[in-house]
């Protein structure tokens, strides 16, 4: 594909193909649906403006994901200043917003909904850096090398962050999921 700046209408197929996946990743990264919507829009806007710089080294989704991470980090840096001065620790209950729009659907078993809520709580407890790595590994199924490329850190750092995130999560889940733990131990 020829790398040029695309006018809005020619960019539509990229929006159609990737907006859902980017929105889901943004939701779990931010732990907030409303902000995820804004971030998703910003991602495609930034992508359209910088499409001429896309060399095709990676997949289009990986490129969009990188843009999303950059925007997410900028946004977090801005918010950090505000939150530190007005409401320290204000991010802690953000995960509730992730479920604010809809509870478990009629066909969704209550246990599944509870599991989702539990994993969201655990994800929310992780620092953004650890969350980034966890999402790339378990949601996108990226390899360590790919994660290192996307996040801009070394492969060793990726492994270290993942190790720390899994250890923290395991400790947290010990109380939340006793049945599964017992099952696993046996």
């Amino acid at each position: 594909m020829e790398a040029t700046t695309l006018p809005g209408s020619d960019f539509d197929w990229i929006v159609d193909a990737y907006h859902e996946k980017i929105y889901r990743a943004a939701s779990m990264l931010l732990m907030n649906r409303h902000e995820a919507e804004d971030l998703t829009q910003d991602v495609f806007l930034a992508a359209m403006k910088s499409y001429s710089r896309f060399r095709g080294d990676s997949s289009l989704y990986t490129w969009l994901y990188k843009i999303m991470l950059n925007l997410f980090r900028k946004r977090r840096a801005k918010r950090k200043l505000l939150q530190w001065s007005f409401a320290p620790g204000g991010e802690k209950e953000n995960f509730e917003v992730l479920f604010s729009n809809d509870g478990p659907g009629p066909e969704e078993p209550l246990e599944d909904a509870e599991r989702e809520r539990r994993i969201a709580r655990v994800l929310n407890d992780l620092s953004p850096k650890h969350r980034e790595v966890v999402l790339l590994r378990f949601y996108d199924g990226k390899s360590y090398r790919e994660i290192a490329d996307i996040t801009g850190v070394s492969e060793g750092t990726v492994k270290s962050r993942l190790h720390h995130a899994l250890k923290q999560t395991g400790g947290r889940l010990q109380d939340l999921r006793p049945e599964r733990s017992k099952k696993m131990e046996s």
Binding site: P7, G8, S9, F11, D12, V15, D16, H19, E20, Y23, R24, A25, S27, M28, R33, E37, T40, Q41, F44, L45, M48, K49, L98, D102, E108, D112, A113, R115, E116, R118, I119, A120, V122, L123, V134, L135, R137, F138, Y139, K159, L162, H163, A165, L166, K167, Q168, T169, G170, G171, L173, Q174, R177, R180, S181, M184, E185
Partner: protein, 200 residues
């Protein structure tokens, strides 16, 4: 060959991913079998690994995009691309206008400098219509740069007639021609007549 705790714990994630080769896998397993701390740590990490592997995709699937998100994005892109092109055109127009102004100013300055240079020595720099009375001797001043400390300093008085050949017109006895040349003034900046002095 045995692994230390540090070496073994660094490989735990890869052990769970199944990306270790047989040799490393065996070494880590051997170490864990003999180290209670590492075994406990492996349990913790395994819990986290399993939770994320199973529940994270389920969590992602439960998150549905808001209605018309794609349409909103497309609308924003279309508006933004229009504004982007307008911005590009506007900035180019401003750049062209700035260039035109600079060129115009430069040509005016150059033109005035050329006029000063082409003016014959001794001719007045005043407005057209001023004529030199041959009985008047122009007093020349050299205008120095500001940092010289002297804004204006008199240089010399030029001879009454410049670059002319003087001949004795009356009588039969013709005097030899006297050629008087105007001394060349090497002006550092600009020489400009500022007034005339009557002959005594």
């Amino acid at each position: 060959m045995e692994m230390t705790c540090t070496q073994a714990t660094a490989k735990l994630c890869e052990l769970l991913d199944g990306t270790l080769d047989d040799f490393e896998h065996a070494l880590v397993q051997t170490h864990i079998a003999s180290c209670e701390n590492c075994a406990t740590l492996l349990d913790e990490i395994k819990r986290g690994h399993q939770a994320f592997s199973e529940d994270l995709p389920a969590l992602a699937a439960s998150i549905s995009p808001p209605p018309f998100l794609a349409l909103k994005i497309k609308h924003k892109l279309t508006h933004s691309s229009g504004r982007w092109w307008q911005g590009q055109v506007r900035s180019r127009v401003w750049a062209a206008a700035a260039c035109a102004v600079i060129l115009l100013a430069a040509s005016i300055i150059f033109d005035s400098l050329q006029k000063d240079r082409n003016r014959p020595a001794g001719s007045p720099a005043t407005a057209a219509g001023n004529s030199i009375d041959t009985n008047q001797r122009p007093i020349f001043y050299v205008i120095l740069p500001d940092d010289s400390g002297l804004m204006a300093a008199p240089v010399r008085e030029l001879p009454r007639r410049t670059q002319t050949e003087m001949t004795a017109a009356d009588g039969d006895d013709q005097e030899p021609q006297i050629q008087r040349r105007t001394p060349q003034i090497q002006s550092p900046v600009l020489v400009r007549p500022v007034g005339f002095k009557q002959d005594m």
